[in-house]
C-alpha cells in the first residue's frame, strides 16, 4: 500500500514539476497558461488520491471523513480551475494582447 502511495505522490510531483518548467519555457502569456492552469489538474488528482489512500489505511469514521474532504477538494478544484484559467485568458484578449504565433515569429525574424 505504501508503495502505491509513494508512486502516486511521485507521479503527481512529476506533473507539478512539468507545469513549472512549462511556465518557464513557453513563449508567451497564453501558452504559459496551458501548463500553469492545467498540468496541475493531473498532479493534484494524483497527489490528493495518494494522501486520501494513506489516511484511509486505518479505517475509522474520522479518517473516512478526512478522505472525503480531500476528494471534495479535488472536485471543487476541477470545477473552479477551468473557470479561473478562462477568466485570465479572456482578460488577456480583452486587454488586446496578441497571441504569439509561429508566423509572427518568422515575420519578426525577417
Amino acid at each position: 500500500m505504501n508503495i502505491l502511495v509513494i508512486l502516486l505522490l511521485f507521479g503527481g510531483l512529476f506533473f507539478f514539476t512539468g507545469g513549472s518548467i512549462g511556465i518557464l519555457r513557453f513563449p508567451d502569456f497564453y501558452t504559459r497558461l496551458h501548463p500553469a492552469g492545467k498540468l496541475d489538474t493531473a498532479g493534484q488528482f494524483l497527489t490528493m488520491s495518494a494522501i486520501s489512500l494513506y489516511i484511509m489505511q486505518d479505517f475509522t469514521l474520522h479518517t473516512f471523513l478526512t478522505a472525503t474532504k480531500i476528494v471534495l477538494i479535488v472536485i471543487f478544484v476541477y470545477l473552479t480551475s477551468p473557470t479561473a484559467t478562462h477568466a485570465i485568458m479572456d482578460a488577456g484578449v480583452r486587454a488586446g494582447l496578441k497571441p504569439w504565433t509561429k508566423a509572427g515569429r518568422h515575420d519578426l525574424a525577417d
Binding site: F26, Y30, H34, G37, K38, S81, T83, T85, H86, P99
Partner: protein, 187 residues
C-alpha cells in the same frame, strides 16, 4: 410603436396572467435535492454529530436551499434530473481519461528539447450545435480542463473561440466531446 410598447408592458403586469406573476413554490423538488446536497456537505465538513451542530446545519442548509435551490437545476422534474445525473456519471470517467491523455501530451511538449518547433499556438473558431446555456457551459469547461486547449469565448449563438497550443490538441474539436455532451443533455 409607442402604443404597442405600452400595451405589452401593461399585459405583463396585469393579473390576467397569473402563471407569470405567481411566485415559484418554495418546497419543490429542486429545494429538496439542494437541501440534501448541502446538508450532506455540512455533515462531511463539520464531522460532529451532536444535536447542536446538526440543528445549525439543518437551519443553514434550509436557508441556502430556499434562496438558491432553483440555480442548480434546469428542470423541475425529479425523474429528468435523476436521468441527467445518471448520464453525467457515464460522461465524467471518459472526461477524466481524456484529461489524463492530454496531460501526458502537454508534458511531452514541455519536456521536448525542440519544443518551439512542435508548438503552433493559434485561436480556432467553430460553431457548436449545443443549444442550452448549461450544456455549453459544461462543454466550455471540459475544453478548458483538457490541457492543450482553453476556451477564450463563447458567444450567444454558440460560436466557440478556443486557444490551442498545437495542431493535434485542436484537431479533435468539437468532435467526440460535443457528441457525448449532446447525449448527456439529450440535444
Amino acid at each position: 410603436m409607442d402604443k404597442d410598447y405600452h400595451t405589452s408592458f401593461g399585459n405583463n403586469l396585469s393579473p390576467r396572467n397569473p402563471s407569470k406573476l405567481s411566485r415559484p413554490k418554495r418546497f419543490n423538488i429542486t429545494f429538496i435535492i439542494s437541501f440534501l446536497i448541502l446538508f450532506a456537505l455540512w455533515i462531511i465538513f463539520s464531522g460532529r454529530f451532536d444535536g447542536f451542530h446538526i440543528t445549525l446545519g439543518l437551519i443553514s442548509s434550509a436557508i441556502v436551499a430556499a434562496f438558491s435551490g432553483d440555480l442548480m437545476f434546469t428542470s423541475r422534474n425529479a425523474r429528468s434530473i435523476f436521468l441527467l445525473w445518471l448520464r453525467m456519471t457515464t460522461y465524467i470517467p471518459w472526461l477524466l481519461y481524456q484529461i489524463f491523455l492530454a496531460n501526458l501530451h502537454v508534458m511531452y511538449l514541455v519536456l521536448h528539447p525542440r519544443m518551439m518547433e512542435l508548438i503552433n499556438p493559434k485561436i480556432i473558431q467553430f460553431d457548436s450545435r449545443l443549444k442550452s446555456e448549461y450544456s455549453r457551459m459544461v462543454f466550455a469547461n471540459s475544453i478548458t480542463l483538457t490541457p492543450g486547449t482553453i476556451t477564450v469565448n463563447v458567444n450567444a449563438l454558440g460560436r466557440f473561440s478556443v486557444h490551442c497550443i498545437d495542431d493535434p490538441s485542436g484537431q479533435p474539436l468539437p468532435g467526440k466531446m460535443e457528441e457525448k455532451i449532446a447525449h448527456v443533455f439529450k440535444e
